[in-house]
């Protein structure tokens, strides 16, 4: 074996053993020469070979980096939900998830949609909050205006620019998290018994709003790369009296796709043709791995039928409950609904977030988080590919920090979850993401926080537990 082949093999082994992880910078040429006692040209040749094999990537003036594996071949299948409106069930499963106080939990939480709360770039927000509270004037303890702090609405309007929306602060309403925005939107648009079309799988928080409002969910087939099927959507609009479309088209939860721009445009046109409203959930949109971030459906909306809902819960911290919405032509009704639901939102969190954004900390934090989450995605996919049974379908998220995993049909992830909780691990079974408990063979994993050996061990254990549930070959 040539000297440079030996060096290349050493590096490959170290990568496979997890010593260097996907996205990590490999040692410099000079450092390797010294460590292995070989010449510069030998190391350079080794790196060239690894590059040719697609294992490392050379970045000019920076060095060599561990390359993610190419997109996994096995994506989850296009969903095939029931072709009729359904009542929503699954509350017991959702309750189990949200009744937990994360701070009191001893589990490794792989299941919930919680961002990394330890990021250094969040520190200015904490400083802001502490200062505001220490020096809180009487007015900061008082009710804010029903619509929300003007300064925060100004900053939100500025940020919305980047998703292609021209919003005036007056078009914006501050809410208590994105959940309140979604709830106000759907309660404004519908009456009990109405039909709402949703992507499939679909965020369980919205599905449960449908349940509480006694609405029916019409789940539309959804492609894990391009989102909701426009053809199926059109057929459904022809066939059913759909009152609203509820959808997460950018950095989808749970599938991670972003609908291509042309399809977003076409969906808005379809809504216009059939005169239905769209409730757009953009809570993960600013965590898109693409720069500039993709446009919202709202940016193609020229007659105010899109109710854009978002929050700082995934991009900053969920515990402050600062959300917002741009309700378009429904502004006055939504404002009334907001008043009766919670009155004005809490004052100080709004002021703190407004200051954080105004000083540029938000954009800095986003850059940091997007870099981290993209690297974590590649690592997580790598771990799942290694540790789960062959043939496992894995999503390829375009943003956010959630991975969707599709197992063989026979695997029951509710049972899997119960088994794993006993071992101190928490996953979210896919059945929460459907009106009727479909996707029971799927699960959602969170890759926001540090990808430590403990997390890899947890993933390995989930993979083993899946294998244990597989029917033994006859």
């Amino acid at each position: 074996m040539k000297r440079y082949d030996q060096v290349a093999q050493t590096l490959t082994q170290r990568i496979e053993q997890g010593q260097y992880r996907i996205g990590d910078r490999l040692p410099s040429v000079r450092l390797l020469c010294r460590e292995l006692g070989v010449s510069i040209s030998t190391v350079q040749e080794a790196y060239r070979r690894l590059e040719a094999l697609g294992l490392v990537e050379a970045r000019p003036r920076s060095g060599y980096y561990v390359q993610p594996r190419p997109t996994p071949n096995v994506l989850p299948k296009v969903s095939r939900p029931a072709q009729r409106p359904l009542d929503v069930s699954q509350w017991d499963q959702v309750l189990e998830l949200v009744a937990r106080a994360p701070q009191e939990d001893r589990l490794v939480m792989l299941g919930r949609g919680i961002p990394d709360l330890t990021a250094a770039s969040l520190r200015p927000l904490l400083r802001q909050l502490a200062t505001l509270h220490r020096h809180a004037a009487a007015h900061a303890l008082n009710y804010d205006s029903l619509q929300g702090s003007l300064e925060l609405r100004r900053q939100v309007a500025r940020l919305a620019d980047k998703s292609g929306c021209l919003l005036h602060p007056d078009d914006i309403l501050v809410t208590t998290g994105c959940q309140e925005a979604l709830s106000l939107a759907l309660r404004t648009l519908t009456e009990p018994g109405d039909v709402v079309a949703v992507d499939s799988p679909s965020f369980y928080g919205t599905m449960q709003i449908l349940k509480a409002q006694k609405l029916k969910a019409l789940e539309i087939p959804t492609d894990p790369r391009t989102g909701i099927s426009l053809e199926a959507m059109e057929l459904a609009l022809e066939q059913w009296p759909i009152k609203a479309i509820q959808i997460t088209p950018t950095c989808n939860n749970p599938l991670g796709y972003t609908m291509p721009e042309a399809r977003k445009r076409a969906l808005v046109a379809l809504a216009q043709r059939f005169d239905v409203a769209i409730v757009e959930d953009d809570i993960y949109g600013d965590l898109s791995y693409d720069t500039p971030r993709p446009p919202t459906l709202k940016s193609f909306d020229d007659d105010g039928r899109v109710l854009l809902c978002s929050a700082f819960s995934k991009t900053l911290v969920p515990g402050l409950r600062v959300g917002w919405m741009a309700p378009g032509r429904y502004r006055d009704q939504v404002l009334h609904m907001k008043y009766v639901s919670t009155g004005a939102s809490a004052t100080l969190p709004q002021l703190a977030v407004a200051e954080f954004v105004r000083h540029g900390h938000y954009e800095r934090h986003l850059r940091e988080m997007v870099r981290q989450y993209r690297q974590h995605r590649d690592i997580m996919i790598d771990w799942v590919t290694r540790h789960f049974p062959p043939g496992t379908g894995v999503s390829y998220p375009q943003g956010g920090f959630l991975l969707w995993i599709e197992l063989p049909d026979s695997i029951d992830c509710v049972r899997l979850k119960e088994r794993l909780v006993g071992e101190g691990l928490h996953i979210t079974p896919g059945s929460l993401f459907s009106a009727s408990g479909k996707f029971r063979h799927c699960l959602r994993l969170n890759y926001a926080a540090a990808m430590t050996p403990a997390v890899e061990a947890a993933i390995r254990r989930v993979g083993e537990a899946v294998a244990e549930l597989m029917p033994s070959p006859a």
Copy 2:
């Protein structure tokens, strides 16, 4: 004139000029002797005469205090609302009130239900908030459990003891202000078109929930001293398919009464007999001027039909939006409704309030506020009696910081409000407190904050403006 009569006259004049106000301590005997150059026995005799006239009160080992005037003779009349269920209107008036950001307001706000936010006894809460935010661990930025912080629920359970309720932390749900509690309760209990019985006048926030839910309000005649008429309530229950009774029986907003205990007990029995639920708003209950505070309806509820709703918005600060409810037998449905409406409530405000209560600061703050608000009530009634046209009806609040004023039928307080806003004064017209805009000749005033000469001038100006609107005698 005797020497002691002269001294008595001097003191009377000073009281009438507002140099000493109701509830203020008068100068000591020794001090007056020195100032007026008279003997101790002369001053003592002067004070004895004033005491006999009911102008001052002697408090053992403390001194002489300016006595409030006896209860005004003219209370507002017992209300006589429509005797059928009505749709709720008046949203435009409410919106005008809640769309304002108090901190940006240049008006003297006599209208809104805002406590004194400058009280020194609130300082530990600010310290708590600042410390928590400065040292916020990741878990404090995270979602809390859906039901709310266990520590806060423990403290709320402990406090509820004082209103006669035996609650377990598990019976309690933390909400985003009392408004969310009321909204969850009514949304859980009713379907569009249902009838809800309410006191009359009734808090506009709840009336607007009825409007948003497409419910009908059946307003029940209410006595400004003893509350809702049980006889009228019973007739209504016989005549109409009432789904729920919504009521504020302790330190009522806007009338200020507390229902006598026997009547509370009878109301719960009535609800049992007709098998309807009661939504009890107790947000001002801890601000009762009586010690111990009066019991809640909930304390007489032995089959879980009372949904008790409250918050720290009037007792501490509204801007934190920390509320809670004890939903009785409806716990599971309310929990679902809470999840879909806003998810978990904000974490840090809950922790801060829990610590504030745990260390005894809450009870200390209450004692201080109750003393202040009771004194302010007497001063405010005195001012209104002096500055408003004779025959003006004035409530005699048993707690809280809101006064209800009833003018001659011909006075239109919406017009009055519009005229006064132009002069930098804000009042709340009574029409907000009725489904159909009754009580247009009434208004609500806030006496929470410092009773400065500027506030007296404002009250005088309101009184003048009322006189200007009176038809001139023929």
